[in-house]
């Protein structure tokens, strides 16, 4: 069968799954007064459309920050503005200042879900296929199979199309960054990643590997010649992109500080709700939250995070290859997830993306991790009434990966033995994938 027909069928399957999941409820459905993330996104459209730019992040009479104030960087706000323009064309009541609070209707839900789908079609899905076709090995059928498995990763589908978020935009842009870097288009790759960073500040989890890879590459090319030129090119373009995104806020330093204050709410504590990282787990035995002061907690998490990120970053600096880069992405994002401050359970999607990229080389580990990551979000999904789609998509993903990936390998026994061997030799540390492969 031709490649294009296989690819289009995979895309259609991915889109069908996504849209079918979107039939279900979203976060905060019919739960006044605060509702949930869905209402937050709708509220941001309202704020972005009705208020001038410099008021978006400020606490004013028109913009009460305690009711879902904007806490993502400016690109999210611009995206919300774009959606708001479309919303205004269809039904102005959806983004009316103040009066549209808590607006819920089936047509509005359809609109919101469509915005997510369009973002997927434009950003995430093309990036997945580009990655699988140009940056992974194997026959074309294997590439298509890997792409299908990545597309059907339940965690992202359930959060974006169930709970309701736009992770596909930031993860899609980050993936474009990976594709750019892997294809040798460093400038475009770093640009894409900068945009991702300006969409969601959580992409900082991925930033260190990008930085170390590019720096390492520059060093390799010689810091006196081409390397320096490359370094300058990249730095200038990154700074220019930042400046462009933050342009409306650069007029006053106070503005910038306010935005940063919204993006990094250190006042909210070490963690909230239940999240599958060390702090929350440790808190069961040792009440860290009460034992240490807030500043001490901040310092401790910072120190531990950097401690665990350092080895892979240094390795990447000295040996900037794609393989090291992918492993460093996994390592960095997992270290941040496990030890960082104020981590949400949805942040597991950040390690999940690089693990998806490892599907070809480490199928068993990747599949296992991706299933566990989805499971770790189960309490959130249950709260949103997404048990049925969770069960179906997880089972489907498990079955699909086991069937497709094992069918395309020589024998599944080799698969199991190889991975188990690495497992025992690497003194199983779920976080240190780089250690795992090194052995």
């Amino acid at each position: 069968m031709d490649n294009w027909s296989l690819v289009s069928m995979c895309v259609l399957l991915g889109l069908t799954t996504r849209w079918a999941v979107s039939f279900n409820s979203y976060s905060g459905a019919s739960k006044p007064p605060m509702f949930g993330d869905y209402e937050a996104q709708r509220h941001w459209q309202e704020v972005a459309y009705n208020l001038p730019v410099h008021e978006w992040y400020l606490n004013t009479t028109d913009n009460n920050l305690s009711y879902w104030g904007l806490d993502y960087p400016p690109l999210t706000a611009y995206h919300s503005l774009l959606c708001a323009y479309v919303a205004k064309l269809i039904n102005p009541a959806w983004v009316e200042l103040h009066t549209s609070r808590g607006y819920e209707s089936s047509s509005h839900k359809l609109f919101m879900r469509t915005t997510v789908l369009i973002a997927d079609i434009l950003l995430y899905i093309p990036a997945v296929f580009l990655y699988c076709f140009y940056l992974s090995n194997g026959s074309s059928k294997k590439k298509v199979a890997t792409a299908l498995c990545i597309l059907l990763y339940p965690g992202l589908i359930l959060i974006d199309y169930g709970h309701f978020q736009y992770n596909n935009v930031s993860l899609g842009l980050a993936l474009w960054g990976v594709v750019g870097l892997g294809s040798g288009w460093d400038l475009l790759g770093s640009l894409a990643f900068t945009l991702a960073l300006n969409y969601k500040q959580m992409e900082l989890y991925h930033s260190l590997p990008f930085f170390c890879y590019l720096l390492g590459k520059c060093i390799k090319q010689g810091l006196m010649g081409r390397g320096l030129f490359l370094l300058l090119k990249i730095s200038l373009s990154v700074l220019a992109t930042f400046a462009l995104c933050w342009l409306p806020f650069l007029s006053e330093p106070q503005q910038v500080l306010q935005v940063l204050h919204r993006l990094f709410p250190v006042a909210r504590g070490l963690f909230e709700d239940k999240v599958a990282n060390t702090w929350c787990s440790l808190n069961v035995l040792i009440k860290i939250k009460t034992l240490l002061s807030r500043d001490a907690q901040l310092l401790l998490s910072l120190a531990l995070t950097f401690l665990f990120v350092l080895p892979s970053s240094i390795k990447l600096l000295t040996k900037p290859t794609m393989w090291q880069f992918k492993l460093a992405l996994v390592n960095s994002s997992l270290a941040f997830f496990l030890f960082s401050f104020q981590v949400h359970e949805k942040s597991i999607l950040l390690p999940a993306l690089p693990v998806c990229l490892l599907m070809n080389e480490l199928p068993l580990m990747a599949t296992w991790f991706l299933l566990v990551s989805t499971f770790s979000m189960l309490p959130l999904l249950l709260k949103d009434g997404l048990l049925l789609p969770y069960a179906v998509t997880s089972l489907a993903f498990l079955f699909l990966c086991v069937y497709l990936l094992s069918a395309l390998h020589r024998s599944s026994q080799e698969l199991h033995l190889g991975s188990c061997y690495n497992l025992t030799r690497g003194c199983l540390s779920a976080r240190n994938f780089s250690l795992l492969v090194k052995c």
Binding site: M1, D2, S5, S8, M9, L12, L13, L15, T16, T17, W19, A20, V21, F23, N24, S106, S107, L110, L117, S139, S140, K141, K142, L388, P389, V392, T393, L395, A396, F399, L400, Y403, S406, A407, L408, R410
Partner: protein, 551 residues
């Protein structure tokens, strides 16, 4: 190139599970009034005694399927009791709690196991080429075309019906005939008739085939009648020059002396026993007229509220155009025209203005006339299982084209068996592509909600892309001519107009039936064309291996 997929049955399980997962995801999609219909039947069969089943009329959705289906619902109702007892109360009209939806949807998904088993049996009957890559194997293509059939998924798992397991019984019966297990096949078909009487459409095919191939144990090597027959119907085949036609007719006609009364009696008793089991209780209660009136409600009009894309839809539109022309040209008085409320589109009784009105008898005669040549062909030139299958498709399509009050969903009865023929013959593949694409498109108006629009488009594209690319690879080369391709591509602008553009126009409220009309007429052309193509291929395809034999 790619290493082949490992285990042989692994791919079948993967396909079956994959589609089942999609079906599970559609549990919370829109469901039509058919959902309430089946909930009502669960309630009626559970709470009422058998004597009241066909009299119960609390809900407008009275029991109008044969008794075996009622017993099936009765069996389901016992499982339903574990999900939500409230759905089994007859008075709870339109009761649709989450547990009820879950139960009903799961029941369709679980009973599809019969369909999956039947497909496995069908795949065994195919002629396989060893050493072909998996994605090119006829059995893989057939399994996907059947398991992932777009029409079946949206009718069963969104609109809500139980066609999956019924088609499973049908395909299993056909597979048994292929395997020469005729008695089992006959039994399965009798059971099927007592599950849903719409399969009466293809009962003539079964009757003629079983009589010819089972009751007559041998075929003669005579020639006279077949040559006569061919000359009578004026068949001039370019591919078979007269000499060839003479030789190829050296077989197939009936050897009258080989009639086996024993076989006939066994067959008859199987059929009669099944019907007796089914209707027995109602015969004893003297309720047969009531049951029959429920099963065959001829008071309904020539066309369903949404015109199925058949001949009568074309007939209606020609009548309407002529009457409008007649009024414009002053030849007809507008006040004398019957008040057929075309504006509503929900007309049941449709009085034709210019062309003669059509009665049920006329439709019956037309249907019989349309399927008679195919039946003759099976009688005089039986080509084993494949000839029988072709006859089934023609009977189903003929009844669809000319039947009374045909539902657009009935097109599936022609599309699904045709899939089987499509993976074996090039001509059938061509017909299948046209019929399935237009037939499936004609099902679009069933899902009219905005939420389901992306699903139906995505699944339709998925199925269409797969069927075109897989059959093209299987038969190497172009399968649709330019004209046919243009017609099929015309479906895209039609979809855009009906789904996106028209709802935004002011006519959307005054003339809401226009998109339905356009879809129906456009698809009727494709369906009619496929019907003609099927007949041409029936009468020109020479019997290849099975020279008039029944095996």
């Amino acid at each position: 190139m790619a290493s082949p997929m490992n285990s042989d049955s692994g791919w079948f399980l993967a396909l079956a599970l994959g589609v089942s997962f999609i079906k599970c995801l559609l549990i919370n999609a829109y469901h039509s009034t058919d959902f309430e219909v089946h909930r009502n039947w669960l309630a009626v069969t559970h709470s009422m005694p058998v004597s009241k089943w066909y009299y119960e009329a609390t809900s407008e959705w009275t029991l109008d399927y044969p008794p075996f289906f009622a017993w099936f619902e009765y069996g389901l109702s016992h499982v339903a009791a574990y999900f939500d007892k409230e759905m089994l109360v007859v008075r709870n009209l339109n009761y649709a709690s989450p547990a009820t939806v879950l139960f009903q949807r799961l029941s369709v998904i679980v009973t599809d196991v019969v369909f999956i088993y039947a497909i496995k049996e069908c795949c065994k009957c195919l002629r396989e080429d060893k050493g072909k890559e998996l994605l090119w194997k006829p059995s893989f293509i057939l399994a996907t075309l059947l398991l992932w059939n777009f029409g079946l998924i949206i009718v069963d798992h969104i609109h809500f019906q139980y066609n999956g397991f019924l088609f499973g019984v049908l395909l299993l019966s056909v597979a048994r005939h292929f395997q020469s297990r005729h008695l089992e096949g006959a039994l399965l078909f009798s059971v099927l008739l007592n599950l849903k009487h719409i399969y009466l459409y293809i009962a003539p095919a079964y009757g003629v085939f079983l009589l010819r191939c089972f009751c007559f144990t041998q075929s003669k090597t005579g020639k006279s009648f077949t040559v006569l027959f061919k000359t009578c119907i004026g068949l001039q085949s370019q591919r078979n020059p007269p000499k060839m036609a003479f030789f190829s007719s050296l077989d197939g006609s009936v050897h009258w002396k080989s009639f086996s009364p024993f076989r006939f009696v066994v067959l008859g008793s199987i059929v009669l026993t099944t019907f007796a089991l089914s209707f027995g209780p109602f015969i004893a209660l003297g309720q047969v007229p009531q049951v029959l009136s429920r099963l065959f409600p001829f008071k309904r009009g020539l066309c369903h509220a949404y015109w199925a894309p058949n001949v009568w839809a074309l007939y209606n539109i020609v009548d309407k155009v002529l009457s409008m022309l007649g009024v414009k040209l002053g030849m007809l008085d507008i006040n004398k025209l019957p008040k057929a409320s075309m504006t509503g589109g929900l007309v049941q009784e449709f009085q034709h203005a210019v062309l003669p009105s059509v009665s049920p008898l006329v439709t019956l005669i037309c249907t019989l006339l349309s399927i008679l040549p195919a039946l003759f062909h099976v009688w005089y030139r039986p080509s084993g299982g494949r000839g029988f299958l072709r006859c089934i498709v023609i009977c189903a399509l003929g009844s669809f084209m000319f039947g009374w009050h045909v539902h657009e969903k009935a097109i599936l009865m022609a599309i699904l068996p045709l899939s089987w023929l499509a993976v074996e013959h090039r001509e059938d593949a061509r017909t299948f592509l046209i019929l399935s694409t237009t037939g499936h498109f004609s099902l679009f108006p069933l899902l009219f909600t905005a939420q389901e629009l992306p699903i139906k488009i995505l699944l339709m594209l998925l199925f269409t892309i797969f069927s075109f690319t897989s059959l093209k690879k299987l038969f190497r080369g172009r399968l649709v001519s330019s004209v046919e391709a243009t017609y099929l591509l015309g479906l895209i602008p039609l979809a855009v107009i009906c789904e996106l553009v028209y709802p935004l126009t002011p006519w959307h409220h005054t003339l809401p039936f226009i998109p339905l009309l356009l879809t129906s007429i456009y698809c009727a052309l494709g369906v009619t064309y496929s019907f003609i193509r099927l007949y041409i291929s029936l009468l020109t395809v020479p019997s290849t291996t099975s020279k008039g034999k029944c095996q």
